[in-house]
Symmetry: C2
């Protein structure tokens, strides 16, 4: 069975009844499991985590747009988080028995269907984007809903699907495929924020660190410790054990030890298996060695 995850971000995080209507709509699509959803009122935004086979997820995504386009009007929407659409971003993530290429195909198929049905401009992003300048979500979203009409007329910003002007109330959508993202924090045995910031700067890609790491240093005031808070955007290329070891060494350079680490949300099993195989130096390690994988194959 092919399992894909999808994590649609919707521009509504205050009207509880609207969020519940969207959740109910997702729950009633056969073959789709709504694993989790949560709203942030300050961002005025909700995030849903879905899993299922590609065809079922396509149906769920179309159903989500159907309700969101009817219920959300960006002309009156306010919130701290940047956004261009009522359904703002929809990533498809390969989980089990499915390739990234198949998730790219799914993203394109959904983008085409949504654009046609709702007369909505759609941008493809990350792995689904054919244009390297349009892979990065932040670049596509820059300017927000308010700047969208102007942006669409600029060179290189014609949408991949749908009309070349924004939907009046629903704006545009950004749909794509990406690797599973791991939200991973390492807590340091100190209250020195400068140490957390220095370690974060050493480890993150943007300032010279590891390719698939985003990191900031933050204080956990109530616990009187600091944290290197990270997003690992490709755990196959930049494995967790390397991130952990580098953070540990950089902290040690300031005389600070690692207290513990935290996984926020869910982590793919393969990401942790790689840590075990690394530290145990297992020769020729692969998923075929795992009993549970064999049980599900046969």
């Amino acid at each position: 069975m092919a399992i894909v995850a999808s994590i649609p971000n919707v521009s509504e995080g205050r009207r509880r009844d609207v969020v519940e209507q969207l959740a109910t709509g997702l729950r009633t699509v056969p073959g789709v499991r709504l694993l989790d959803y949560s709203s942030d009122p300050a961002h005025n935004r909700s995030v849903f985590t879905l899993a299922g086979e590609p065809a079922a997820l396509k149906a769920a995504t179309v159903a989500l747009f159907e309700r969101a386009v009817a219920l959300i009007d960006l002309r009156t929407h306010r919130g701290a988080h940047p956004r261009v659409g009522a359904v703002d971003v929809v990533p498809f993530v390969p989980i089990e028995g499915v390739t990234m290429d198949e998730c790219v195909d799914l993203a394109r198929e959904v983008a085409g269907a949504v654009a046609e049905r709702f007369d909505l401009p759609v941008y493809l992003y990350e792995e689904a984007s054919a244009d390297p300048r349009r892979r990065n979500l932040e670049d596509i979203r820059r300017g927000g809903f308010e700047g969208l009409a102007r942006k669409m007329t600029m060179p290189g910003w014609r949408p991949d699907f749908g009309p070349t002007s924004p939907h009046p109330s629903a704006g545009a959508a950004v749909i794509g495929a990406r690797h599973p993202l791991i939200a991973y924090n390492i807590n340091l045995q100190t209250n020195r924020l400068d140490v957390a910031k220095a370690v974060a700067a050493a480890v993150r890609h943007s300032s010279g660190g590891l390719r698939y790491v985003k990191a900031i240093g933050v204080a956990l005031e109530d616990r009187r410790i600091v944290q290197v808070s990270m997003n690992l955007t490709n755990y196959e290329r930049t494995p967790i054990f390397r991130v952990f070891d580098l953070v540990q060494r950089e902290a040690a350079r300031h005389g600070v030890a690692v207290l513990e680490s935290e996984v926020i949300g869910l982590v793919p099993a393969a990401a942790l298996m790689a840590v075990a195989a690394h530290h145990l130096q297992i020769a020729g390690f692969g998923p075929h060695m795992i009993l549970e994988n064999r049980l599900r194959e046969t």
Copy 2:
């Protein structure tokens, strides 16, 4: 869904047609998956790995005894491996969504059914044994088929189920429940067999080492290296990371490094997850953090 594994050991490893008949019998039981089977002609013995729900495994085990009792005669059986029965040993191992107690119940139920149906004496072992002196398989099997009639008359060796004298051709059976066993080897960067033997002695339970480790030192002649070859009999109580670290330290004391490690056969996912959680110092780690586990729950 409850998944139990069973690894019956049968006293036939030379007559290919008999082994195939037994395998075919196992394959045709609904709800049972035959994951693997292999024969050792020198031992004149075959090992089957099955998985399924308890009721299906019970049916498969009874079907296996049916054919094995009809086709195998221990009076003419010769082989290097100790054995007391045509179907010699049947362990039930909890894998997913099932407790050890439920596997003990299953072992007793199967033991009762087999004893009655084939008029066969059955000993319970490991977790299924109520008598601490009869937990150990080696103790029950000592004396073999040839010494069985005499052993059964000795104090403390009355079978748990069935008659108090051996089945004429099929002997007796040993049925029980145990933890998953991990066959785990660590290869050392040296050809000095004395180092492998010293490390094995340091790490194994029988000579003062870790409680759930069996270990020997062996030479891998063709690769000109040596190996600490181990069975880890309870990875929850004696986790793999502790075994690896101890082997590494003991080898270092001789100036020898770990080259690599090997998992023989299959390893439960939880055993490797524990290694990752240990090295990453993950706070409050549990199976609920794993994406795939959540997918299967919902």
